[in-house]
Amino acid sequence: MTTAATTHHSAVLEHRDRFRPRQAAGKGHVSVRNVDIVFDTHHGPHTAVQGAQLEIQPGEFVCLLGPSGCGKSTLMNVVAGFVKPRHGELLVDGQPVAGPGPDRGMVFQQHSLFPWKTVKDNVAFGPLMAGVGPREAESVSRTFLSLVGLSGYADAYPSTLSGGMQQRVGIARALANYPSVLLMDEPFGALDAQTRTMMQENLLEIWSEFRNTVLFVTHDIDEAIFLSDRIVVMSASPGRIIADIRVKLERPRQAELLTSPAFMALKRECLALIREQTLHAFEQQNRKH
């Protein structure tokens, strides 16, 4: 176990030091300050997210949990730089976010690989865009493909891979850029339950080598508890942050944890808190009207 780990780890670090030396540890502080996200629709302005406040420390694994339509993906898109907030401020490592950038890697729900590029070229794309030479980019790509266990598929096209494998390529592609923040938008949402659990375990193993900041959007409470250090709960219409729960489960975590008493107790606690906060949010809402 340790030998393979050492190989991966040294290879990963070697590449990082060569083409992104400034991406040292301690980066990846995300600061969401009073963010309102408003979309102009045919029926007038629609508030997707209201007054979002969130501080994420470097190296924290944070899950944004909420029902569909609560604006959790929208909030993530603001961090990614795809969407501009109407009000408020968004800082990553003290710098305001002006648009998408390679410091914030993104893993999408599905179908986000370039179908005309081989698996290897998909992963090499980020390093190439960072100005690394083709040979170095390919070497980075191979390192990351072995990290996600897909070395044998380097020359395959994405469409010949299963959904789970495609998502692992997506993770490798995002990580190959050494982002200080990894954004994951329901990356396992389209997978079957069995594959999903495996992917979650796999993700934690990979992450243990990077320890970068992760912001992970999900509507699955088990997934949120299993993965994260912190669960930020959102409620719908308008999307608001209603709870911030610390998950004090030891790492490394394995799938067995999902059925352990500690996990169950925590889940019960979370559900109770979410219910309470949801009711509270509704009351506040009603009082306003």
Binding site: L113, F114, F125, G149, T160, L161, R168, A174, N177, M198
Partner: protein
């Protein structure tokens, strides 16, 4: 800690690609070309199956069907059949075949072909470069689309043949007017298919590229163009068909060389076997050129074929 690859490798289900359902705009003049869009890929796959020896029966049937047609033609021509269709002036296949062999050793015959091919090469080359450039601009920029689209909407429905008088009046040489007409014929299918392909670019791929640090130029090169390629290739193939169609119209009406001129002058000079030779050569060259376009572009679309195969 090492990553466990085991359980994942086993699950190699197939995700159908969403790129297979691309509609394609077909030029109005493109009556000669019936293969549309990514059906082309399907057709290519089918063709590769047909090449399998297991299908030799079907090949025999196809050849037999053609032989029957030639025999009917022969009988009709030899017996001077006159049943509404008049065969008195139609040379029989044997005469046509003999004349064709004679033509093969005549230098002017090749000169006609050479002239046609030269016009196609110039006109089609221009249409490819200008057509793809215009199409990409229109697909990427609303402003460019607003400027270019009105011209296309007005000019596109005008058949290439209708351009002939004005082309002769405006162009300095006969050669230029024929090339211009051919160019116009090829241009519209290429532009419209390119626009269509470019506009289909999935938003998520552009976002993915941006968050990987791609510039606008890199997005054009790595995302937009490859994504539009299946549609562009379909446009190129249709454009080649229409180019021949337009070239022939131009050559019949003006020109001193070219396979269209060869065919028409055969009629005016009462050398009827040469009419049929001209027709068959036109058909053969047109098919050959379209095939070359498809085969030439096939390596660029390998990713799509792989998806279809699995």
């Amino acid at each position: 800690m090492s990553v466990k690859p085991g359980p994942f490798q086993a699950s190699s289900a197939v995700v159908p690609s969403s790129t297979g359902e691309r509609g394609v705009i077909q030029a109005d003049g493109a009556a000669t070309e019936t293969v549309v869009g990514t059906d082309a890929v399907g057709a290519a796959v089918e063709a590769s199956h047909a090449r399998l020896p297991a299908n030799w029966r079907r090949y025999l049937v196809r050849i037999a069907a053609l032989v029957v047609a030639v025999m009917i033609w022969h009988l009709a021509a030899v017996n001077d059949l006159n049943l509404y269709l008049r065969f008195e002036n139609v040379p029989n296949p044997v005469v046509v075949g003999t004349e064709f062999i004679a033509q093969l050793s005549s230098q002017t015959f090749y000169l006609h072909i050479l002239h046609s091919m030269e016009r196609i090469a110039i006109a089609y080359g221009l249409a490819v470069v200008i057509g793809i450039a215009l199409g990409v601009m229109m697909g990427r920029s609303r402003f460019a689309e607003d400027i270019i689209l009105p011209y296309i909407e007005i000019l596109r429905p005008i058949p290439a043949v209708a351009w002939i008088p004005l082309a002769i009046l405006m162009m300095p040489t006969e050669q230029a007017s024929i090339v211009f007409i051919t160019f116009l014929g090829a241009l519209f299918p290429i532009v419209l298919n390119t626009v269509h392909g470019v506009e289909q670019t999935p938003k998520v791929l552009v976002r993915a590229a941006r968050s990987l640090g791609a510039s606008n130029a890199a997005i054009l090169r790595h995302v937009v163009l490859p994504g539009a390629l299946p549609s562009i290739v379909a446009g190129l193939a249709i454009g080649m068909g229409v180019a021949w169609f337009s070239l022939l119209a131009g050559e019949i009406i003006s020109g001193q060389y070219g396979i269209g001129y060869f065919t028409w002058s055969a009629y005016t000079l009462v050398e009827y076997p040469k009419i049929i030779i001209g027709m068959l050569v036109i058909g053969g060259l047109g098919s050959l050129c379209t095939l070359l376009v498809r085969k030439g572009c096939a390596p660029l679309l390998r990713w799509q074929k792989e998806a279809g195969r699995s």
